[in-house]
């Protein structure tokens, strides 16, 4: 079992719900301090978004943030160097599109991620059918592959995705790209169908934008992922204090 999964299973056994905030790497010069503020406020793991020019699965907020990070010169090398300066020890999970790793080289990418303290990866445009090379490259580097399950995923695919997922299984609450949503979504149904075939920790994401939505999601799931709503705080000019307040409000809501 990959160490990320061992860690997250142990977390679940303590009864604590996992809170996983998402950051766009390189969005601001002090983004590393934002990550540290989130961990200080009770994040259990952090998703590090690696900016890509054509983020097919992202809504306007993360698109805009990725563009800004790229204009600031962010690259896989630069953000990995910055990750080494982190003074926290929660698991880091890279989230990006396959072309970034494909272009950098799969072995080289997973080596780079591992040496930067990253222990998991979410690559939303890499379905298991195309993932065998990537899974091979990540196997020797202890990088857990996290697959997403969508409300549209039929039962036969769902079993396969849940079996292949390492670390946790990502349950999409909505048929939508990342971004704010006021609907309660289908997270409960998706989590229940994953539970029926696997005991892997299961977190809900996509459209979780308020502490109340996070609490509702955690009634059924083992944790939540909060992306666009937090990135918006930073796009609005928020600093480390604002990040800390934001994450604290989610922490209180799900504890």
């Amino acid at each position: 079992m990959k160490s990320l999964e061992t860690h997250l299973r142990a977390l679940r056994s303590t009864g604590r719900k996992a809170l996983v905030p998402y950051f766009v790497a390189g969005l601001t010069p002090d983004w590393i301090q934002h990550v540290e503020a989130a961990v200080h406020a009770g994040a259990d793991a952090v998703e590090i978004g690696i900016p890509f020019s054509d983020p097919m699965m992202d809504g306007v907020v993360i698109q805009g943030a990725a563009l800004r990070a790229l204009e600031a010169g962010t690259t896989l090398d630069s953000l990995c160097a910055q990750l080494l300066t982190l003074s926290t020890s929660v698991p880091l999970i890279a989230m990006t599109y396959y072309n970034i790793f494909h272009h950098y080289g799969l072995e080289r990418s997973t080596g780079k991620l591992q040496s930067s303290g990253v222990s998991g990866a979410i690559v939303p445009d890499l379905p298991p059918e195309e993932a065998s090379d990537w899974m091979k490259a990540s196997a020797s580097r202890d990088i857990a592959n996290i697959f997403m399950v969508a409300p549209s995923t039929p039962p036969e695919r769902l079993g396969r995705l849940a079996r292949l997922s390492e670390g946790f299984c990502y349950a999409s609450a909505r048929m939508a790209v990342t971004g704010k949503s006021s609907e309660s979504g289908q997270g409960r149904r998706v989590v229940e169908s994953i539970r029926a075939v696997s005991d892997i920790p299961t977190y809900i994401g996509i459209g979780i934008s308020t502490p109340n939505q996070a609490r509702e999601a955690c009634e059924v799931s083992d944790g939540v992922i909060v992306g666009s709503a937090l990135v918006q705080v930073i796009l609005n000019g928020g600093g480390a204090d604002d990040v800390e307040n934001f994450v604290t409000s989610f922490r209180r809501s799900i504890d």
């Binding site: 396959y98 072309n99 494909h102 997403m148 048929m175």
Partner: protein
């Protein structure tokens, strides 16, 4: 009419432009790189397409609509004066004479019929120059399907008349303001929208690109160009065709015409825009659901294409073209903006045909390479993929600026 897929089942596996493997690969390229939310829709589409394409009632209706509505078969025209000027024998497959002014109608007739067959009532589409958008709006109006077209904001300005055409046909045009605000971003936005509405909406992709089965399906629906042309040339007494030349953005008109000659001793030549040259300047990568050749920087960020023609303004190319290029079966060359207007004028003056700016790239290559890459005395088929009506305002501005 013989469909490629029927042929494939009886031919050996070494033929070019047969079906991809079961996961949609053409050699190292193609595949299906989409978010999980879209996987079921891609799988459903693949099943529906295979089923429909083998069903004589579907293909009969498809052929009938192409005949009665789209104006097929389009003729093959000998370009006598240009042939004489250049010392090569040129025939043009006249897709410019198809309904809506380009080859795009072949694909959308097929995909809209498939949409109905799948029980969906709405289509979304991306468009660059607006030709695919107009064709989709047209075929949707004919079947009473709702239609929304995503178009880069820059392209809505360059091709304002096509926006109005789509609106006249009942479609909603959504200007895309993200990224480079051209075709690449229109595809991103259409994919994002498709995630939210896969249950009742088909994504009517306009070229031989995207996730499996689109590159294969669109090529099959465009292969009528090459199949017709091969027969028509035979009827004209042309025994040996030396070369087929077509412009390439995503590559649907080229794939369609190449399909008729892929296993004949004919050179297949695709002409890219110099500013959107995925074969010439690209490297393997993953974008828009496919692995193909892409223009990208050293970090794997996709570069913005620039071309005078909105339809070739795309940093990638269909995966089967990437395969044909790497296997050496087809050759690809690039033509810069500055040669395109001249080529459009030459074809207009010598043959009485105003080509689309996209098509004019292929014409420019003939002008440039007759007697060089194209040996004198060769017989060449030019796929005249579209007419220039949509471009005349832009061309007028450019020519005024040159004076």
């Amino acid at each position: 009419m013989l469909f490629r897929s029927e042929r494939n089942e009886v031919s050996d596996s070494h033929t070019f432009m047969s079906a991809p493997d079961e996961r949609g690969h053409f050699g190292d390229f193609g595949g299906r790189f989409v978010p999980e939310a879209l996987m079921p829709a891609c799988l459903e589409l693949e099943t529906a397409f295979i089923d429909a394409w083998r069903d004589p009632s579907f293909t009969t209706e498809y052929r009938q609509v192409l005949r009665e509505f789209a104006g097929r078969p389009t003729p093959v025209t000998p370009l006598d004066r240009l042939s004489e000027q250049l010392g090569i024998r040129i025939f043009a497959k006249r897709e410019d004479l198809a309904h809506t002014g380009s080859h795009k109608i072949n694909n959308v007739v097929g995909q809209t019929l498939l949409t109905k067959r799948m029980g969906k009532h709405r289509v979304i589409a991306e468009t660059g120059a607006g030709q695919h958008g107009v064709a989709t709006a047209t075929a949707s109006a004919r079947l009473g399907l709702e239609c929304t077209v995503y178009m880069g904001e820059i392209d809505t300005e360059r091709q304002a008349l096509n926006v109005f055409r789509m609106e006249l046909l009942g479609a909603t045009v959504v200007p895309v303001t993200s990224g480079s605000r051209t075709l690449k971003d229109a595809v991103n936005e259409a994919m994002r929208e498709w995630v939210t509405c896969v249950d009742d909406t088909h994504y009517c992709l306009g070229s031989v690109m995207g996730p499996h089965p689109f590159p294969w399906m669109v090529r099959e629906m465009q292969s009528i160009i090459g199949i017709e042309a091969a027969q028509q040339l035979k009827d004209l007494g042309v025994e040996n065709l030396d070369m087929v030349v077509a412009c390439v953005g995503g590559g649907s008109n080229a794939a369609g015409v190449f399909a008729g000659f892929a296993n004949a001793p004919t050179r297949l030549v695709g002409i890219e825009a110099a500013g959107g040259s995925a074969v010439g300047k690209g490297s393997p990568g993953v974008l828009h659901g496919m692995k193909s050749l892409l223009m990208q920087d050293e970090f794997g960020q996709i570069e913005e294409a620039y071309s005078i023609s909105a339809g070739l303004d795309y940093p990638g190319i269909g995966p089967e073209h990437a395969y044909l290029a790497r296997s050496g079966r087809a050759e690809y060359f690039a033509i810069g903006d500055s040669d395109v207007i001249h080529a459009l004028q030459v074809l207009s003056l010598s043959e009485g045909i105003i080509p689309a700016l996209e098509t004019a790239h292929a014409v420019a290559w003939l002008l440039q390479e007759a007697g060089k890459e194209i040996p004198l005395g060769s017989t060449v088929l030019l796929n005249l993929s579209g007419r220039g009506d949509k471009d005349v305002a832009q061309v007028r501005e450019i020519l005024r600026g040159q004076r």
